[in-house]
């Protein structure tokens, strides 16, 4: 087995990451208590749903127009929690989708959350809506929902493109409490400008660990953090060595 040229460094990094991953997953599985710092965006979810319950308005949840990737998978954990809370509080939840494959999974997640909350009868299949995979159609349909159904909370988590600004600002104009989160870093400033709470960078990807506190997911978050340290040390060491004329680390990532 030989490696593709230019991937040796990445492969080494992947192996280090997998090693850290296994170590921390096993540690948490054996009962070690690992701390996760507070993330305001997730803490605000209950506040947003509670506000909708008090106002008698629905919660709106959407994933953005991007493809089914890690952003969507992380967002599913948040959706499961939000759907469960909405079911418990008898608050309507409207979920809008741009992708067919996400639509199928979304229906299943929301239905399961209502069943788990003992509110299977309250599940409204028509509230989990496929809109369109065309960006402008997706935007205009959600703007229509905002105007007609006036959600009290607008939760946007997933792979967003230019629709992030339009949806967040439209949500702000109807007075909805808004939480935005995406791993697409270029869209984060738009959420920061228009949302009440924003999940920045990798915060969306800790959703499962933060909300459910499952050992496996908490362990994965620790591996990620150590991965960050490894990256930071590699960047600093690489910079210092390259400045001194030694390209060992730089060359490793070119092999």
């Amino acid at each position: 087995m030989s490696l593709v040229t230019g991937t040796v460094g990445k492969f080494v990094f992947l192996l280090v990451f997998v090693g850290l991953f296994w170590y921390f997953v096993n540690r948490t599985a054996s009962g070690a208590q690992l701390h996760i710092r507070r993330i305001a965006g997730f803490d605000a979810l209950d506040e947003a749903i509670g506000r909708c319950t008090e106002m008698g308005r629905p919660v709106h949840y959407t994933f953005g127009i991007g493809e089914l990737d890690a952003n969507v998978l992380a967002s599913f954990d948040v959706l499961g929690y939000v759907a469960g809370q909405c079911a418990k509080m008898d608050t309507d939840l409207i979920v809008t989708n741009a992708l067919g494959e996400v639509q199928m999974m979304t229906e299943e997640i929301v239905r399961a959350a209502y069943i788990n909350a003992g509110k299977a009868d309250s599940y409204k299949a028509d509230n989990v809506r496929f809109i369109s995979n065309v960006q402008t159609a997706y935007i205009s349909a959600i703007l229509g929902i905002f105007q007609r159904e006036r959600p009290g909370a607008n939760l946007m988590m997933g792979p967003f493109f230019a629709e992030s600004m339009t949806l967040a600002e439209a949500g702000q104009q109807i007075g909805a409490i808004q939480v935005g989160g995406t791993g697409r870093v270029i869209q984060v400033p738009f959420f920061i400008a228009a949302c009440d709470y924003t999940l920045v960078g990798d915060e969306l990807f800790v959703a499962g660990a933060y909300i459910n506190r499952k050992p496996v997911q908490v362990g994965a978050i620790y591996a990620q953090d150590f991965g960050k340290w490894f990256t930071l040390i590699t960047v600093i060491a690489g910079t210092i060595l390259a400045t001194m004329g030694n390209n060992t680390i730089t060359d490793l990532f070119k092999k």
Partner: protein, 209 residues
């Protein structure tokens, strides 16, 4: 049933994710490349079928509204007629049909451009709110935002030529450093989620346990 709903998707995730990941790194064995190619092709096929299911959901939601005469059901009527009519036209008369192109060019395109152009107004109102100097952080945002705006337009250069260089410095150093930091964090987060799927530990997409 539990196997189909839970175990099979997990194993497909392990196999598909593992094959595609390994394909990025290894030249051989050849079956890894074949398996990876096979899974990627199936992804496209499944996504196409899922789109049909999505369209089915759209028609179901709107036909229920029309049937129950729910509030604003007229919009649902327009949506259903547009979806079914345009799809039928495309299938029967083909996409090269002049009527098909006429509707696309004279209805869809201008409507699409109109919706997208709303963004300009939303960016303006969001900037207005974001640029209020309520605290020291917002003040830094306001000052750097104004400098970058002035450095990007001709009038800024007319006021003070240094705006261009200052803008380039802000974009190349503080902005790039922050963006790269966030990108590294996000990339590691994506790796974490992907590894959980490949190792069969992620189950959020299966609708709870």
């Amino acid at each position: 049933m539990k196997f189909l709903r839970s175990s099979l998707p997990i194993w497909l995730g392990v196999l598909g994710g593992g094959a595609v990941l390994l394909d990025l790194f290894v030249k051989e064995p050849a079956f890894v490349k074949l398996l990876s190619k096979w899974f990627l092709e199936w992804r496209v096929i499944l996504a196409s079928f899922a789109l049909t299911l999505g369209a089915g959901n759209l028609l179901r939601v709107h036909s229920n509204r029309i049937r129950l005469k729910s509030r604003d059901w007229g919009y649902s009527y327009i949506t259903a007629v547009a979806v079914v009519g345009y799809a039928a036209l495309g299938i029967i008369a083909k996409r090269t049909n002049p009527t098909y192109s006429f509707i696309f060019d004279n209805a869809y395109s201008p409507l699409s451009a109109t919706v997208f152009s709303i963004n300009a107004f939303y960016i303006s109102t969001a900037c207005y709110r974001a640029f209020r100097a309520r605290n020291s952080h917002a003040a830094v945002l306001l000052i750097s935002g104004v400098v970058v705006m002035l450095g990007s337009v001709g009038i800024g250069y007319a006021i003070w030529p240094g705006f261009n260089q200052l803008t380039q410095w802000i974009m190349n150093f503080p902005n790039s450093a922050a963006m790269r930091g966030m990108n590294i964090g996000a990339a590691l987060g994506i790796m974490g989620v992907s590894l959980r799927v490949i190792l069969g530990l992620e189950r959020g997409h299966l609708g709870g346990e």
